[in-house]
């Protein structure tokens, strides 16, 4: 559009554009203000605090540069926490999601009592993490229900100090986390499966494909978008793991079940090292941000065309 025609159109444009932008900004303002106040400002504040040695009470005057970050990366406790987060991500992707997928495929068939099974499998997800933690802590006490269950099955030799053995505690926690969340992923995948028209699979079967071939080459690719979202939620959830572990072990025994979020909370609120705690928060934020952006850019791109990463449409 040339300058002259713009000038010529001025009366109309000059009248319309401001109205449109005024409306948009009026609608945006409340959300934007809240977002700035409760998300962006705290993120910036945390980044600021992370450069100080600060207990939360004294004036913010002991500038230490990046020392809090160096301490974090050099600390065995924090390195264990990071590797625990990634252990849960890996186990979730290799065990929990395939398990949820096979259940979803099973429950997608027509059979008597299908809804009952769907509800039962979904139920654990409804419980809060804190309640799940308290309940399993009781069940896992030595000699309690789970131990006596093993004994009565003649499997007494398999009994472990479930939450007390530093070498076993993450396995126990992973099983409980999976118990709580497999139903959620199952429902997600089930919804995805139901969006796939039956005719496509039937056509393949008529053309002579085996059941596995039909699943592998028809169902799985069509389920792709749902599966990718499921994996994404699983990864972000694993990075933020806190409530259940805090209730069950407080990151113990001997720091064996620390996660980044637990290390952050302990530093800030138990130990009153607000500066160091902020540094841990920033590191956790960066992990989550990089993972989320990379995943959106490289994996989810075709599903969310035009969102966050693709600025040019």
């Amino acid at each position: 559009m040339s300058a002259t025609s713009a000038t010529g159109a001025r009366p109309r444009v000059g009248f319309r554009v401001p109205t449109k932008w005024v409306t948009i900004s009026l609608f945006l303002l409340p959300a934007l203000a809240l977002y700035l106040l409760f998300v962006l400002v705290p993120v910036i504040q945390a980044a600021h605090y992370s450069l100080y040695k600060w207990n939360g009470l004294q004036p913010l005057d002991n500038f230490v540069g990046l020392r809090n970050y160096a301490t974090a990366l050099g600390s065995d406790t924090f390195r264990t926490a990071v590797s625990n987060n990634f252990l849960i991500i890996v186990l979730s992707l290799t065990l929990q999601i395939p398990f949820s997928l096979s259940l979803a495929v099973l429950l997608n068939r027509r059979f008597r009592g299908r809804t009952v099974f769907r509800v039962i499998f979904f139920l654990p997800y409804v419980l809060s993490e804190a309640i799940t933690g308290v309940v399993f802590s009781l069940l896992l006490r030595p000699g309690a229900l789970i131990d006596s269950g093993f004994s009565s099955l003649g499997l007494g030799g398999l009994i472990q100090d479930w939450l007390g053995d530093p070498g076993f505690v993450m396995i126990t926690l992973f099983v409980i986390i999976s118990w709580k969340y497999f139903g959620f992923h199952m429902i997600l995948l089930l919804a995805g499966l139901q969006g796939i028209p039956r005719e496509i699979e039937e056509a393949a079967l008529i053309d002579g494909a085996g059941r596995w071939q039909a699943f592998r080459h028809i169902t799985l690719p069509l389920l792709g978008p749902t599966l990718r979202v499921s994996v994404f939620l699983s990864m972000i959830g694993a990075l933020q793991l806190f409530d259940m572990i805090w209730v069950m072990t407080k990151g113990g025994p001997l720091g064996a079940s620390n996660t980044m979020a637990i290390a952050m909370f302990k530093a800030g609120f138990t130990n009153q090292q607000m500066g160091y705690g902020s540094a841990l928060a920033v590191i956790l934020f960066l992990f989550a941000l990089v993972l989320a952006l990379a995943y959106q850019r490289f994996v989810l791109q075709r599903d969310v065309e035009g969102a966050v990463t693709a600025f040019n449409g």
């Binding site: 209730v247 909370f265 009153q272």
Partner: protein
Amino acid sequence: MKLIPTRFLAGAAILALVASACSSTAASPTPAPAATPAPAVTPAPAVATPTPTPKAVTIEWWHITTGEPGKSIFQGIADAYVAAHPNVKINITVLENEAFKTKLATTMQSGTSPDLFQSWGGGIMQAQADAGMLQDITAAVAPWADTVNKGAMSIYGLTDKSGVFHQYGVPWDMGMIGVWYNKALFTKAGISAPPATWDDFLADVSKLKAAGIVPLAIAGKDMWPSMHLWTYLLLRIGGGDALRTMISSGNWNTDACTAAGDQVVKLNALNPYQPGYKSATYDNEAAAVGNAQAAMEVMGQWAPGTEANDATNKKGIGADLGWFPFPTVAGGKGAATDGVGGGNGIAVGKNAPPEAIDFLKFFSSVYNATKLNASSPATALSPVIGTESAVTDANLQLVLAGRGKATFMQLYLDQATSPAMGTAINEATVALFEGASTPAKVCAAITTAAAAQ
């Protein structure tokens, strides 16, 4: 997995913490209260009015005594003071322990503080004093300071770099950690008297073990209960001065520190702890003693109440419960009368009016403090001299006697030091009890943590 925006995490964390705190009696050193308020024993003292033409004053008081009868006793004392001083208004805010800590921290970050508030002394008081949030009341309480147990008073003050002591608050509860034991189980194992020395203690552990009884309950998840046992060994072996030097110098690589650890290793070798002790909470520990599943625990004055609360029958072991002071260690420098203890106090905020301190004097009078001791079970073990006889429970009388005889009193190590240092001490010592560390490593880890302060 669950998707929570990062910004909600801290909030969720606090909720989870509150939820977990609600389910346990945990570290609160206030004994579990019962329903019957005790009758007044002595007549109320006459309250002197400070000025002839008083101006209106409001005192903000935050406390965490949420249970009865303590809550009503506190309210009653405040009401009595206000009745005698019509110009004074006392605003009481009763908060749950964890909520109190969070609220106090955020209030202080904004540069103000309540006039009177719950305090445990130690490292947190130090941080508050460094931030200029506390009022030096040394001169104001001087006329009546000697009516309160000296060791207890000293916990609510700090010595500055030039060696001058500043009083920042006053205690209303002071106890001592000792060994709580089951007399019936001791008899069953053929033990006639509680052990006076550490060697006897180890021998008794073996006897209990041989009789098929779990000798000792600890709590690996909460960490601090076994830390107290280790502190006592350190105190008995090195003596009070050595311990105080380790705290102030930050050098824990000492013979006394490794020697204390060696004794823990000896104890570990007898395999004395309850099944699942590594993941046990303090409530699990108290339940083990309260259900007569374990013979002993090393714990403070609140143990009988918590044991009863956590026991399946809600009563605990009743008359079978006994108390003895932590045994002496052969060749150790510490006296049998040295103790580890602590309790509750009230700190004074930077802008508190003189009336707030006058109220503390009123609160600490024998007449009012007696009410805390006389309730059943006792709301507190008041450190006010002359209130001891109001305690009716025989075991608490033993604790009081121990406190009265104390030649040296060390505040709980995880409270005497900064919170980060307290965590480091707890983590280092619990690893030793779980057989995952060595005495030398414990001392080195605490020294490293001290250097990072």
